[in-house]
C-alpha cells in the first residue's frame, strides 16, 4: 500500500474518486442484492410450481371423480367385464360366438389410503409420543451434563438415518419377529376381551406385514424427531418459571408438569411435525405395511398409505386416468402435509419467540 501511494504522483480530484467509487460500489451492491433476492424468489416459485404442476397433472382425475374421489373406497385401475350386454329386445348380444359384456370403467377412491395414512400415523404417535416426551423431560431436567452430549448426538444421528434402512430392518427383522412372537398372543388377547374384538384379525392369517408393523416402524422412526424438537421447546421455558414452582414447594414432577403446561403449544407443534413426517414417510412404510387397499378395523390386516400407494403404482401406471388419480393422491398428501407443517411451525416457532421475548 505504501509503495503504491508513493508511486502515484498527484492525487486526482477527490470528488471524482468518490463518485467513481460510489457508482462502482453501488452496482456491485445492487448485483449481489438482486442475485440473492432472485434465488429467494426461486424458493417461492418452487413451492408454487409444486402445487401448480401437481394440480395440473391431477386435473383429469379431479374432473372425472370430483369430491367422490376423497370418499370413494374402491381403487381399481382396470376396467372389469360386467353384465352381458343386452340388445333392444333383451337378448344377450353375441359376437364371434362370445358373449359381449359391458365394461365397468376403472374407479378411483382414495378413502382406503387416507384411512391407512391416518391410522398408521396415529399408531406411530401412540408409540412415539410418551417415550419421546419422557426422554425430552429427562434430557432437559434430569440428565447430567456428561450424559446430555452423547445422548443428543445419538438422537440427532438416528434422526438422520434414511428411511430405507428402517424399512429393511422392519421387513427382515421386525415383521418376522412380530409374526412369530407378538401378533399371535396379542391377537388372542384382543379376541377374548369383549370390547377389543374389532382390533383382532378377521381372516386369521397373521403375516407380520400389516398396519401394526407399519405403525411400530413409523413410531420408531419419528421418536428421534419428536424428542429433539420437544427438547428444544422445553429448553425455552424461562428459568424463573421453574425456579418459582420449586420455591413454592413443588416436587420434581410437579415442576416438570408446570413446564409441560407452559410449553404445551410448542409440544403440540413438535408432535404435529412428527405426525407430518410419519404421514409423508414412504420407503419404510411401503416395505412393512403389506400394501393392500382396504379399510379394516383390525390392527393385523395389511393396509396401504398414500405414499406407499404412490411408490407401488406410479411407475407402472399405464393409463392416463390412473396416473392422474395417483397424482391427485400426491396432491392430497402435499396439501395435508403443508397444512400440518404450517400449523406446527406456527406453534413451535411462535411459542419460542414469545417466550424469548419474555426473558
Amino acid at each position: 500500500m505504501t509503495q503504491l501511494a508513493a508511486e502515484i504522483p498527484p492525487p486526482a480530484p477527490p470528488a471524482d474518486i468518490s463518485i467513481r467509487q460510489r457508482t462502482q460500489f453501488l452496482s456491485s451492491d445492487l448485483i449481489l442484492r438482486w442475485v440473492t433476492a432472485g434465488s429467494a424468489v426461486i424458493v417461492i416459485l418452487m413451492l408454487s410450481s409444486l402445487i401448480f404442476v401437481l394440480a395440473q397433472a391431477a386435473l383429469p382425475s379431479i374432473k372425472a371423480f370430483g369430491f367422490s374421489f376423497l370418499v370413494g373406497s374402491e381403487w381399481r385401475p382396470n376396467s372389469l367385464p360386467g353384465d352381458p350386454m343386452l340388445d333392444a329386445k333383451g337378448h344377450v348380444v353375441i359376437e364371434d360366438g362370445e358373449v359381449v359384456t359391458k365394461m365397468i370403467p376403472p374407479a378411483f377412491g382414495a378413502l382406503p389410503v387416507i384411512w391407512g395414512t391416518a391410522v398408521s400415523s396415529i399408531l406411530s404417535l401412540i408409540v412415539a409420543v410418551p417415550l419421546s416426551l419422557g426422554a425430552a423431560i429427562f434430557l432437559v431436567r434430569a440428565a447430567s451434563r456428561v450424559l446430555i452430549g452423547p445422548v443428543s448426538f445419538l438422537i440427532e444421528f438416528l434422526a438422520a438415518i434414511p428411511s430405507i434402512a428402517y424399512g429393511l430392518w422392519g421387513l427382515f427383522v421386525l415383521c418376522p419377529f412380530l409374526q412369530a412372537h407378538v401378533e399371535p398372543g396379542l391377537n388372542g388377547f384382543f379376541e377374548h376381551v369383549p370390547g377389543l374384538r374389532w382390533l383382532s384379525s378377521t381372516s386369521g392369517a397373521l403375516t407380520g406385514r400389516d398396519m401394526f408393523a407399519g405403525g411400530l416402524v413409523l413410531g420408531i422412526m419419528i421418536i428421534p424427531i419428536i424428542t429433539a424438537i420437544s427438547r428444544d421447546v422445553l429448553r425455552q421455558v424461562p428459568r424463573a418459571q421453574i425456579e418459582g414452582t420449586v420455591a413454592l414447594g413443588a416436587t420434581w414432577w410437579e415442576s416438570c408438569r408446570e413446564m409441560l403446561t407452559f410449553s404445551r403449544s410448542g409440544l403440540f407443534g413438535a408432535i404435529m411435525l412428527g405426525m407430518a413426517r410419519a404421514a409423508g414417510e414412504t420407503m419404510a412404510i411401503t416395505m412393512v405395511i403389506g400394501n393392500n387397499n382396504q379399510i379394516k378395523s383390525s390392527l393385523f390386516a395389511p393396509a396401504q398409505t398414500m405414499s406407499s400407494l404412490l411408490a407401488n403404482e406410479f411407475a407402472e401406471a399405464s393409463t392416463e386416468i390412473h396416473r392422474a388419480a395417483l397424482v391427485e393422491v400426491a396432491l392430497v398428501l402435499l396439501l395435508m402435509s403443508l397444512a400440518f407443517n404450517v400449523v406446527a411451525r406456527y406453534l413451535v416457532v411462535g411459542k419460542q419467540s414469545r417466550s424469548a421475548a419474555a426473558h
Binding site: R33, L54, P130, A135, P162, A165, F314, S337, R345
Partner: protein, 312 residues
Amino acid sequence: MSTANIQPVDPLGQSTGQSTFRSKWSRIKSGIMYCVCAGSTFFILSLLVLVIGYLISIGFSSINKAFFTMDPIPTGMANAPGGMRNALVGTAVLIFLASLIGIPIGMMTGVYLAEYDVGSRIATPVRFICDVLAGVPSIVVGILGYELLVRPLGSYNGWAGAVALAFIMVPIVARTTEEMLRLVPDSYRQASIALGANKAVTILKIVIPSGTASIVTGVMLAIARVAGETAPLLFTALGSRFSPITFDSSFPFMHATIDKPFPSLTAQIFSYASGADVDERRLAWAGILVLIGLIFFVNVSIRFATRSKRST
C-alpha cells in the same frame, strides 16, 4: 401445577397439618415419574442402538471387495450378484449434479435472508416457505420431477433425479446458511463498513469467509440427507443395472449417460430388498452400511466443527 394445588409450607420446610399425606404421595409420584422419564430415555436409546447395531453388524458381514469393484450381474450368470459399483458412482454423480443446482440457490437464499432481511417484504414468506418445503414428503417431490422432466423428455433420466434431490437440498442449505451467517458477530460487519467497504464487499469478503466452516457443515448435512433419499428417485432416475459412466479410447475418454434411467444406491437397495434373491439382499445390507457410514461421518464432523466453533 395450578395455584389451587399449592399447599401452605411453614418456614422450617415441613408441610402443615393435613397436607402431610399429600406431600408424601406427591414425592412418591415424583420419584415414579422420574423413573418413567429416565426409563423411556434408556428404552429409546437401547431400541435405536439395537436397530442400528443390527444394521451395522449384518452390513459388515455382507460387505466385500466385489461390492465396490463390480457392477451388478444378473442372477444365474457367473459371479452373480456382482457388486454395486454402478450405484455408488450413480449416487455420487446425482449428488454432484444436485449440489451444483441446489447449493448455489440455497446459499444465496440464505445470504439474502440473513443479510438483506431488513426492510424486505419477501424475507419472512421465504423463510416460512423454506421451513414448509423442508417438510414436504419426498415422494411428492419425485412426482414433481416426473411431471416436469420425465414426461416431457419421454424417459426416466438422471437429470430429473438430480433436480428432485436439489429441490430437497435448497431449503436445508438456505436455512442453515442463514442461521450460520447470523452467528457472525455484527461487529465484523460494522468494522468492514467503517473501513469503507460496501455491503456486497462486506458480505463476500468478511461475513461469508468467517462463516464458511459452519456453512460447509450445513451443506454436508444436506448432502447426507439426499444421499439417503429413495422416494424422489423412484419416478425420476428410476435405477439401472449399468454403470452411468463408461471409459473408452475416444475423446473425451469418459462418457456419462445421464439422459437414461440412472442408477442410485438407495433405489438399488430397494429393488434388491423387494426381490427374492438372497445374494442380492446381502448387497442391500452392505449398501445400507455404506449409507449409515456416510451419515455417521457427516454427523461426527459436524459435531467436531460446531464444538471447535463454540470453544473459540
